[in-house]
């Protein structure tokens, strides 16, 4: 009864097209992430030789290169290197006193301006990169200008080569190609030689280390030898370290059982062997070497041993003159995991040890502790009972005399947070774990859902009982009155200053929904959409091996909990407010009638889609020959539609073709079969298998993303079309709307029907489509969702090229926009404009406005409790969320409501009344006396 009225009201509202200046940065949130940093590619470095302040540079596991300000953890700049989510090795180096950082990934060596992240040069190598180093020559004459880079590359089974690249231009100075097909492993530069380390496979399948030394100036081979590693090396995994760019680079390896450590100083053939102490029968699980990374520093290194429950370390010294390695001292064994970092100051080397509760620094020369700081808290949240362990760390130490005067350490924790410790106190943290989010969902807190259900119950029952219910609710709420009265002044002040931060329980608008995210490494964490700067909890839910995928899917069926289904298991439920696992009792649906709900199951392969009803085959879809199925998107399960028709300008109605079983299926030419690049888009009825609409597009770039969406009675898809003389080249967005009939006030074959079944007869819809040329590719489409579907909709599109998310008002896309003529008065009343084939994305449509949101892959929306607002959450590398009101916030006072102005007006009117009242009385009295 209220709905038609409300929808009439919303018709009058012009759609909101933009982000308001005063709402930007307040209603939206964004984590500009890099991903988990890798230890070997993270360092402190001065962005230019003149500056004293250094930045933290890192190249992460997600392939993002960036600089972070150590003061507050903010991102200075960032670049996405190719090869996101690929396990290829990537490298990042910076020469001492250089204003460039040199990265290497896939086959691209690139130098970036350290200060602002712009590209200096980029060079492609012949094979996949195996290592990149900066050449630090000490002969003096080449120290002017940019330092050169050396790159080792080699594809599997192909010839490996070393190139020297000019530091200023990236031009190749010389190339040395190795003979044979030995696998390239690493390159290492001392002050006089470049050493390339290759792995030679013996007949028995063991590896031998082959060292080739090259002249850095000419690129000619000086010497070559094999290290007698005997039968210890079965795989490259047990090579612990090949130190680079130090006065005497070393190679260290262990046998598979981690019982002996072998060390060779590169350049000599002597191998020193050390037995690894087996403490109390625990087997050493991991051995790491930490060595300084400066050519002028002392040649000391630290070996870090790790068992399942403890860790310790030995420090070794190398005699530069004779290449002898001696053990200097040991650091004691401690429980738990630890991390070591190496820092240098002039020639001195310092090792910093981070454990669960302490940070300590020693000099490489002696075991005396130079500084010790207790770490009470890392300042991050974790799961219940979980101990947070450091994974790896990088430090910057400044030493005065015999004590450390200041130390800054960036630590990656086992929770996936990247934090900075100044001394022993955590100053900032970056939740880099969110960069590996693979699934996310909104969930309503239990209290909020209970409140919403009570309101629903009141609205749907008869007036008397609704009144009684409301009265009892208000009486029950009276017990909160004292607390409310106490906090009332504060609330009023907050309300006026706009600083109110409501807690979860008092969220009457449904803005404080909880977003749970599952990450690639088997963790799950939760954010509050209304207060996103705080992570509520973060816990490990699946124990995964390295590189193992678990394909989690999250859903929230009921307030206060989230269900996770993955390859690790199905139906695990968690409490969203604290992350506690709920005891899984299979819910029995008492009211569910098994006969009424007939199950349709779908099996999709590349070449067919099969549906079975009650385990009997129902229908089969196979694409045209030479085509494969690309994707299938169904209509969202929760997709409320307020009105079954569209009201035209003259008050007649066009009936929408509404069917809950619609799906959009895309088939494309298989790349293996023929060069024709076509894609076909089908609208299917998933119960009957009927094809309701199909359109084919030729000359499509099938390697670029094809985004699809179906909702209500309309569909949208986007693709990139190739050039032809007569057709435009570029990205296109197609929108189609399905109607029961194109004649107003007519339902076509369904006229007079109350119900119909799609298994018996499927009336065909009348489809209107429009194609728009858009300025850039769309990688994913989504639509805003509101509680009752009354609010007009916005099509959300992820734009990977400009790092943005755009909300396109549906009216701008409407397939009923008149073509070739201006809109009539009736059409104008509906808000229809003349069709224009080009749809430029107005910058005001960008929900991400000024923010640069990189690497987004998915976007989800959720309705708030109030009709006007839809919550949006997008993830990928970055995480971005906002709330949008596509028809303005018609049911809530927004920031545009000026409380001071309102109060001022009331006060002014009051004053005016008091001033004018005596005047008016006097006038009236005077008049009486005058005229009577």
């Amino acid at each position: 009864m209220l709905l038609p009225l409300l929808s009439a009201a919303t018709l009058l509202l012009t759609p909101s097209l933009a982000v308001f200046q005063d709402e930007a940065f307040h209603i939206d949130y964004h984590f500009a992430l890099l991903g988990a940093p890798k230890e070997s590619t993270t360092f402190f470095h001065q962005p230019n030789p003149a500056s004293k302040a250094s930045l933290i540079y890192t190249l992460s596991e997600e392939g993002a290169l960036g600089a972070v300000n150590p003061r507050d953890g903010s991102l200075v700049w960032r670049q996405l290197l190719q090869g996101q989510h690929q396990s290829n090795a990537s490298f990042l180096r910076a020469g001492e006193g250089q204003d460039l950082v040199v990265s290497g990934s896939l086959n691209q060596v690139a130098a970036w301006s350290a200060e602002d992240g712009r590209l200096a040069w980029r060079t492609a190598t012949d094979g996949v990169l195996r290592d990149v180093e900066i050449l630090e020559l000490s002969d003096g004459k080449e120290m002017v200008g940019a330092k050169d880079a050396v790159a080792l590359s080699g594809s599997h089974g192909a010839q490996s080569s070393v190139v020297r690249l000019d530091g200023a231009t990236g031009a190749v100075k010389w190339t040395y190609e190795f003979d044979g097909s030995d696998e390239a492993y690493q390159v290492s530069a001392s002050s006089t030689h470049i050493y390339a380390i290759l792995l030679h496979k013996t007949l028995l399948g063991y590896l031998r280390i082959r060292v080739v030394s090259l002249d850095p100036v000419t690129g000619k081979k000086i010497d070559e030898y094999m290290l007698s590693s005997e039968n210890e090396l079965a795989t490259a995994d047990t090579i612990v370290s090949v130190g680079a760019n130090s006065a005497s680079p070393i190679i260290a390896w262990t046998d598979a059982a981690h019982s002996t450590l072998k060390v060779n100083v590169v350049g000599s053939k002597a191998i020193s062997s050390f037995t690894i102490d087996q403490h109390a029968g625990e087997t050493v699980a991991r051995v790491q070497v930490h060595a300084p990374y400066h050519i002028n520093s002392l040649s000391h290194f630290l070996v870090h041993y790790e068992t399942a429950t403890s860790h310790w370390a030995d420090v070794f010294h190398v005699d530069v003159n004779n290449g002898k390695v001696t053990k200097a001292y040991s650091l004691p064994k401690l429980a738990g995991k630890g991390a070591f970092s190496t820092s240098t100051s002039d020639a001195n080397v310092y090792f910093t040890r981070i454990t669960r509760d302490e940070l300590s620094t020693v000099s490489s020369a002696s075991h005396g502790i130079l500084g010790r700081w207790p770490v009470t808290s890392f300042g991050v949240v974790s799961g219940i009972g979980e101990v947070i362990e450091p994974v790896h760390a990088v430090s910057e130490v400044s030493v005065k005399g015999d004590a450390v005067s200041a130390i800054r350490t960036v630590v990656l924790l086992s929770t996936g947070d990247w934090i900075l410790l100044r001394g022993g106190t955590a100053t900032w943290n970056r939740p880099e774990i969110l960069a590996s989010t693979v699934a996310a969902t909104f969930a309503m807190p239990a209290e909020v859902e209970a409140f919403a259900e009570r309101l629903q119950a009141e609205a749907s029952s008869n007036p008397v009982s609704a009144y009684v219910q409301r009265l009892t609710r208000h009486i029950a709420e009276l017990k909160d009155l004292p607390a409310l009265l106490v906090s009332f002044p504060q609330r009023v002040v907050n309300g006026f200053l706009g600083t109110s931060e409501d807690d979860l329980a008092s969220d009457n608008f449904g803005f404080h929904q909880i977003i749970t995210c599952a990450t690639r490494n088997g963790r799950m964490l939760a954010l509050d959409a209304g207060n996103p700067n705080r992570i509520l909890w973060n816990r490990q839910v699946a124990d995964l091996k390295k590189e193992q995928a678990w394909n989690p899917r999250l859903a929230s069926s009921k307030g206060g909990e989230v269900t996770i289904n993955s390859q690790a298991g199905t139906g695990f439920r968690y409490n969203i407010s604290n992350g506690e696992q709920l005891v899984s009792i299979l819910p029995v649906d008492v009211e569910g009638d098994a006969k009424a709900a007939r199950e349709v199951r779908f099996t999709m392969t590349d070449s067919a889609l099969d549906a079975t009803v009650d385990s009997k085959p129902a229908w089969h879809f196979s694409p045209a020959s030479g085509q494969t199925i690309h994707s299938l998107v169904p209509r969202p399960v929760n997709d409320p539609v307020a009105s079954i028709g569209k009201v035209l300008g003259d008050r007649r109605v066009l009936y929408k073709y509404l069917d809950p079983n619609l799906a959009l299926l895309v088939t494309k030419s298989s790349l293996t079969l023929g060069p024709s690049n076509t894609a076909t888009f089908y609208v299917l009825n998933t119960v009957s298998g009927a094809i309701l609409h199909a359109s084919t597009h030729n000359d499509i770039d099938l390697t670029s993303p094809i985004a699809t969406l179906i909702s209500e009675n309309w569909l949208a898809y986007s693709f990139t079309s190739a050039a032809s003389a007569t057709a435009p080249k570029g990205q296109q967005l197609v929108i189609g709307e399905l109607f029961e009939s194109l004649v107003p006030n007519d339902r076509g074959p369904l006229t007079g029907n109350q119900n119909y079944s799609s298994t018996i007869s499927t009336p065909e819809p009348y489809t209107l489509t429009h194609t728009y040329q858009i300025p850039e590719a769309i990688s994913k489409l989504a639509v805003t969702r509101t509680k009752q579907g009354i609010t007009s909709r916005q099509l959300l599109a992820l734009l990977p090229d400009s790092g943005a998310i755009v909300g396109i008002p549906y009216n701008a896309l409407n397939p009923r926009r008149p073509v070739g003529r201006d809109a009539t008065k009736d059409e104008q009343a509906e808000g229809l404009l003349r069709y224009n084939p080009v749809l430029e994305f107005d910058p005001k449509w960008l929900l991400s406005h000024q923010r640069e949101v990189l690497g987004l892959e998915e976007v989800v929306t959720s309705p708030a409790l109030i009709e006007s607002t839809s919550l949006v959450f997008a993830w990928g590398l970055d995480v971005f969320g906002t709330k949008i009101s596509p028809s303005f916030s018609f049911d809530i006072l927004g920031r545009d409501f000026n409380k001071f102005q309102m109060l001022g007006t009331v006060a002014a009117l009051g004053v005016l009344t008091f001033v004018v009242a005596p005047l008016v009385t006097r006038k009236q009295v005077d008049q009486r006396w005058k005229f009577l």
Partner: protein
């Protein structure tokens, strides 16, 4: 995946030919200092299906595509702060006698038009081409609210009417007092005849309504004259 393919393609091509395209952003009135563009600014060159090159901005505010195979490309520049026009770049096959001299040509292109519809030329070259692309407009992300504006408030007709009537209420007595007696008398005469405020006016009629008389069946005329009978003059 496609970037890999493009890289592989770039690799094979770089051995044979090397059409080199440099795109630069010159300083203009709109964008006086291109060095202020964020490092995320990049140029995308979309060729035939599967071919796509992406070049980040360089320190001298240029984009470099070192080795392009013969094809027709769409060049788009993406920047957070400014919009740039799209360009069409054509690289033709090199003549046999000079394999390094691939003819290259750049035009402006228009979205939504057929690909053959080219705009003004942005330059041509052999084996190497340098194109200048000026920013076309700055991006404005925010809609400003129609906030409280005193002048706009005062200018609105309702408020103007209010001001005028307030001036009448407060100003009239002073004007009346300063009038010479004759004009005053004339004015009062006029006022008494006015239909609203005059003695026969609606306001007076309502105020002086003789309920008892009306109940007793007095006619409106006599009531009005009775009311009017009491006036001075």
């Amino acid at each position: 995946m496609f970037s890999l393919r493009a890289l592989a393609l770039a690799l094979c091509v770089s051995l044979a030919t090397a059409a080199r395209l440099t795109v630069s952003i010159p300083a203009s009135a709109l964008l006086p200092n291109p060095a202020t563009l964020p490092p995320s600014t990049h140029a995308v060159l979309v060729g035939p299906p599967g071919v796509r090159y992406d070049a980040p901005i360089r320190r001298d505010s240029t984009f470099l595509f070192p080795a392009l195979p013969a094809a027709s490309y769409l060049l788009t520049l993406h920047s957070r702060d400014y919009a740039f026009p799209p360009l069409r770049i054509d690289v033709s096959s090199a003549p046999a006698e000079s394999p390094q001299q691939q003819p290259m040509h750049a035009w402006q292109t228009f979205r939504g038009n057929e690909w053959a519809n080219k705009g003004p030329s942005y330059g041509a070259g052999h084996g190497e081409l340098h194109v200048h692309v000026q920013a076309s407009s700055p991006k404005d992300f925010y809609q400003s609210r129609g906030g409280f504006n005193l002048m706009g408030f005062v200018k609105s007709p309702m408020i103007l009417m209010g001001i005028v009537s307030a001036a009448m209420i407060f100003g009239m007595p002073y004007v009346m007092e300063n009038m010479d007696p004759e004009t005053k008398a004339e004015f009062e005469e006029m006022q008494s005849k006015s239909p609203i405020t005059g003695s026969g006016g609606a306001a007076n009629q309502i105020q002086n309504f003789d309920l008892a008389g009306w109940m007793a069946g007095k006619t409106a005329d006599t009531g009005a004259s009775a009311g009017g009978g009491g006036k001075k003059k």
